[in-house]
């Protein structure tokens, strides 16, 4: 397949930094604006850019349906798992303080895991939604 050069080269250059930026936003939710939702959207937007330039079929090869669905559900499971773990360890749902010996470390761990779950779910959902829209005709 022949792709027009300018868009192909520039997007090839920009997609890896965009994905890295998404992960930066993911893990620096404590320090600045950001967190799971935003990171998920940015990560998905890198995929959407790939799909726009290189075609839906290639993008589907990179991120097949089972992969995005697994990502989506894994994020949800992680979120619920952290919440339920709080109950089992003697707190209430989503009680981070009981996750570790030291409540502060526990809270930190809990929030990081929850944000990661949110990010995974959001990016999976966004990519899935994009593919569903794009497969429509006209």
């Amino acid at each position: 397949m022949i792709f027009k050069a300018v868009l192909r080269v520039v997007s090839k250059l920009l997609i890896p930094p965009i994905m890295l930026f998404a992960l930066y936003v993911q893990f620096h939710g404590d320090f600045g604006p950001g967190g799971g939702f935003q990171a998920g959207v940015i990560f998905a937007s890198a995929f959407i850019l790939y799909a726009l330039i290189f075609g839906i079929d290639n993008a589907r090869k990179v991120a097949p349906a089972w992969a995005t669905r697994t990502l989506l559900s894994l994020g949800l499971v992680l979120y619920a798992g952290v919440g339920v773990a709080g109950i089992f360890l003697g707190g209430s749902f989503l009680d981070y303080s009981v996750l570790a010996e030291d409540p502060v470390i526990g809270q930190h761990l809990g929030i990081t895991l929850i944000e990661f779950g949110v990010g995974a779910t959001v990016s999976g959902a966004m990519i899935t939604i994009f593919f569903i829209f794009a497969h429509q005709d006209g």
């Binding site: 397949m1 930026f21 937007s45 959407i48 839906i56």
Partner: protein, 95 residues
Amino acid sequence: MFAGASAAILVTMALALFRAIRGPTIYDRILAVNAVGTLTVVLIAVHGFLAGRPAFLDIALVYALINFIATIAVTKYVKFSHLGHPSGEDERGDV
């Protein structure tokens, strides 16, 4: 001084928006909206300094990124009427 710059950017945005509303073609509108997006990036950055919170720069970077991808997506949508790979003349399959 940042307030002055913000005001200037807002006036500039209003001018660009005028073109976005006037048209006449869809491409004029996309061009104007893209310009408004760039100005928004600058406005967010300036506002971060105005509010003394340089963490706003992350948001500005995100906005620049979304502006880029959104403009390409809209351009592609306008050109092919859908976002997927065109079924027909596939050699023109990008924007």
